[in-house]
Symmetry: C2
Subunit: 132 residues, 2 copies
């Protein structure tokens, strides 16, 4: 395990943006308990170096995560995990995801039960990661 920084791996072949890859990995690591509220994230320069990307790209990811309510980015203090909950914004976002997921599954003939099962499976793995 990384002694200081978080484990962020950039797939240069992916069609997903670098800053989006970072964003998604951070969200997953918070959910998995690998990043806990209050914990400081590496400096943008550190993350940039360890991930092999530019400082501003790392910064962009942090600022997006702040906008979406996963990090606090204080003046002169850097980024720390601090999840906030905005009822209307966050529930709308989640519902949007659910609607698209449901639509995709519907089109592809994947049953509602199967999606429920996949959700349980994902949740189980998530909860299981807390204990290292």
């Amino acid at each position: 395990m990384a002694k200081d920084g978080i484990d962020i791996i950039i797939d240069t072949e992916s069609e997903e943006n670098y800053y989006m890859q970072i964003r998604n990995q951070v969200i997953r690591q918070i959910a998995y308990g690998k990043l806990v509220p209050g914990q400081s994230l590496p400096s943008v320069r550190q993350l940039a170096e360890s991930a092999g990307i530019n400082m501003h790209t790392a910064r962009k990811a942090y600022l997006l995560l702040k906008k979406e309510g996963y990090l606090r980015v204080d003046n002169r203090k850097g980024a720390t995990v601090d999840v906030s909950f905005n009822e209307s914004v966050d529930m709308d976002d989640l519902m949007n995801d659910v609607i698209m997921l449901c639509a995709k599954a519907g089109c592809k003939g994947v049953s509602l039960e199967k999606i429920h099962m996949m959700l349980d499976e994902a949740y189980k793995k998530q909860a299981g990661e807390g204990a290292d």
Copy 2:
């Protein structure tokens, strides 16, 4: 209702790409039964005009939907709804969506049960749209 074309509305203020907005709306309309397998979609020129966008942007959406297995785009015949299912590709895609959904919910303190309920709600609306 539109006598011929499908109802595609482009939100020029959205941060979502035009062709992604089209893609998502088409997927939802297939899931909702407003577009049925075999049905022809409007020509790229028609869609472009009714949606107030360029022909190539409409075309890009159709080609993406083809790549993702929602449309058939035959030579000289245009686009028709034809959903295909590729086990590994599609299930991976769905699982990826589920994992991110689950992670977001986990971070935001939204319970697994709540997500299950939202899923049921989305599915119910989807199934309910079939009967006009």
